[in-house]
Amino acid sequence: MAERAYAALPEGALKRVRLGGLEAIYHAPSGITHLLAEPVPDLLDGLDSFGPGEFVTPHRLVARMAERFDIRGDDPAEAPEAVLGERLAELAALGLVRMRVGA
């Protein structure tokens, strides 16, 4: 299967506000508000750290996030990249990140 890569949206596309333990995210292109829990805000921050338009694989994102977080899955048999990839695909379906398939 072709590898998927993800990138942050252009600046200004998302407005994010912390509300207690959750984050309210306004998606400007659609006008839809999302209320998301950890680790989604950290994933968005991780992608942001590469800059908008810079597509990265889940593997690269895990490596970047591992600089700040101790990344361990609930199931030792499951690779963090795979779990992260699933979350990123969900975010891409919501329009909150960009996705590219293949090189």
Binding site: V17, L19, G21, T33, L35
Partner: protein
């Protein structure tokens, strides 16, 4: 329209036209203390016969105007006042864009507002009406208008729509029959009677107020208080707003700022007196916290 009147409530101006005279006369009486200048209105409402014959034979009032619902059922002429009130609510709910609209009631004291929201029938109207008779300034019982730029609340003090057992409760509380509208029986919401706010709250309706406390009241349950976090308040208020989606980013900014700036509680109470006592206690606690913070700064 054969008959018409102009009514200003807070920042909104309405022109109400009618095929019949009685609903206009009732509106003029109920809104006696409100400005009725013939200015360019924000909204026009029309109470018209559902068919040409219906003007004379068992007359039925259909609601028309700038904004309408296609499946709204006409009301009998005796409920023409209710039709006018519903039509005015509809214009605000569907057409107002200057403020974020929350389906809520509000009162204020010392320049800070208590906003009370909840499902229809939760008791927020009656609680605000009781508080307004006991020293609180009445800001509105149907819509709270939150200014997206300043974060202030613009008063929208329409007459309170009292339903069923709330009517007798407020008749005991208010010693001025002239402030009540006619009793409207057998409406889709049971018996309804409107109560005009005290004159001073109408005279002050151009003066905005800072929000201070957000409450989610429920009448008819054993006394309970539960703190509500920002995220839950936010979700509930998006559901309580009629124009959150229409306002887009302005609505998001206004609502996130609002829930971050005011503490929120869900309160259950078994009687009106208990509800008033709970609001006043939570208010005093909040004022004390604000005083402590100001002193610390």
């Amino acid at each position: 329209m054969r008959h018409a009147c102009f009514i200003t409530v807070g920042p909104a101006r309405f022109r109400i036209g009618s095929d019949w005279r009685p609903p206009i006369d009732q509106l003029r009486a109920l809104y006696a203390d409100y400005p009725m200048d013939e200015q360019v209105p924000d909204f026009t409402v029309r109470l018209q016969a559902s068919s040409s014959l219906r003007r004379f034979v068992r007359p039925q009032v259909a609601i028309a105007g700038d904004f309408t619902l296609p499946d709204a059922v006409p009301l009998p002429l005796e409920q023409g006042l209710l039709a006018a009130e519903m039509a005015m609510n509809l214009q605000m709910a569907l057409g107002w864009r200057r403020h974020l609209l929350l389906h809520a009631s509000a009162v204020s004291r010392q320049g800070r507002a208590v906003v009370m929201t909840g499902l229809s029938g939760a008791g927020k109207s009656t609680l605000s009406a009781l508080l307004a008779e006991r020293g609180w300034r009445f800001l509105g019982d149907e819509f709270v208008l939150l200014d997206p730029d300043s974060g202030n609340i613009a008063p929208f003090p329409r007459p309170v729509s009292l339903k069923n057992q709330a009517i007798a409760a407020m008749e005991r509380e208010v010693d001025d029959e002239a402030r009540f509208g006619p009793v409207l029986r057998d409406t889709p919401k049971g018996t309804i009677r409107h109560l005009r706010p005290r004159t001073e709250w109408i005279e002050q309706m151009a003066r905005e107020t800072r929000p201070g406390l957000l409450l989610f009241p429920r009448f008819g349950f054993p006394r309970a208080v539960r703190r509500m976090d920002e995220a839950e308040s936010f979700v509930r208020l998006t559901q309580a707003s009629t124009n959150y989606v229409a306002l887009g980013e302005r609505g998001f900014d206004a609502l996130t700022q609002f829930v971050r700036s005011v503490p929120a509680c869900a309160i259950d109470y078994a009687s009106g007196d208990e509800g008033v006592e709970l609001v006043e206690r939570l208010w005093s606690e909040q004022m004390a916290r604000m005083g402590d913070r100001a002193a610390a700064a």
